[in-house]
Amino acid sequence: MTSDALLSVENLHAWYGESKALHGMNFTVRPGELVTLIGRNGAGKSTTLRSIMGIVGKRTGSIRFDGQELIGKRTYQIARAGIAYCPEERAIFSSLNVSENLTLPPVLKPGGIADSDLLAQFPNLQRRLKSPGTKLSGGEQQMLAIARILRTGARFLLLDEPSEGLAPVVVKEIGEQILRLKAQGFTILLVEQNLQFARRVADRHVVVENGVVVDTLDAETLRTDMDRVKHYLGV
């Protein structure tokens, strides 16, 4: 595929135990881009992120990132290659307080955001540093889940449905944070069900259906050709 891609996924198949979830995905993400994976529930969007991260039973095909092949690598090696992952269910640790949650991911390479800058960027967390992680509101937990992966030095972020289950005003806030990360030079692959949200932040949209990529839309198309989008998403 294009040589200027930061991430290129080719013919990716993935399994959970016996059941197959991805049937040959193909797409690329260029440096500095913000790409969303959109599609119906169960189409394989989250599985794609988990496959990139190596958190599935089995995967075949090719995932090239920054010149390295990720298939065959273990999850921690993939993280050290420069990818950070924020799961859908946020995975804030209940036995750790906010401060411990925030500083748990180790600094793996230069390029991460320093802790003091993180707190400046996410001021809500500053006041709650000593409370247990799971005592935060849903929106705060989402902020924390995103904030903590920014310190590792990874410049490529996988965000799984950061807007899910949050009030509109909080979604707006998250959107602003994500745009800010893009402005700071992070490359982002975002899974999103919320089309409004996706439309506001992304450069490009990859449409996933039944474990394969069926279309790629640029931001302009998503804005203008709503019928085509509705056709895919069944809304």
Binding site: R74, S95, L96, L104
Partner: protein, 294 residues
Amino acid sequence: MFDHISIQLLAGQLLIGLINGSFYAMLSLGLAIIFGLIHVVNFAHGAQYMLGAFVALLLLNVLGIPYWGALFIAPVIVGAFGLLMERTILRPLRGLDPLYSLLATFASVLIIEGLMRLEFGSSGLPYRSPMPGGINLGFMFLPWYRGWVVVFSLAVCLGTWLLIEKTKLGAYLRAANERPEIVESFGINVPRMMSLTYAFGVGLAGLGGVLAAPIYQVSPSMGSNLMIVIFAVVVIGGMGSILGAILTGYLIGIVEGLTKVFYPEGSNLAIFVIMILALILRPNGLFSAPEKSR
């Protein structure tokens, strides 16, 4: 009836209870740490404790290394043995029903104990106390070594607890306990952390064995019966609860000691009666952590 019970007897049994409790606490602590992170019920814990005692004995008799050296060397050797066990028999079973790893460690007990009996026979071997003598406290005689065991094991339990609750390393452990794959996605080599955690828990068992060597007879079966008591302690305290394991360990030791004073026939049974009562009254464990999705 209290007229018949002298203060010496009471104090003496309380001390024995405290000593036993020290071993219960150290061993169930290791078991809880191992179970918490890698979901293995380490049936070999008692056998590894026994190995600790034998390594101390061999260090002394063969290499002439005294107790104080063994206290550091033996846990490392036993921990290394644990690492080997983890690599060869536990890692292949990771991800399967934890029943298999329980049975694998059980089978390894048959092998380890059998080999030890073959080499050393089944009778107990003595290990000279490194701190002979003691002090008369007026109401009782306290052997120095027993006092040392109580203080040292308390320090080990407290130290381990602080390590897990207050340090960065402990934070990794607690987090990996909840969501290992997420911790790994942060770039931490979780599989290696799991191996080392197992080795650490096994090393604690080995340390317990070294401590026990001068008190109990060193024999291949010294860990077997203890193992079942430790299981009961962990069930009472709540699986995977570190603090629960420590507190229950001491509690059970002391209750057992008191039972010996007031109802000697029942001392073997006391633990199990407490376990059954605890199961009926506190089905989730005395000190269990809040319910977690599994």
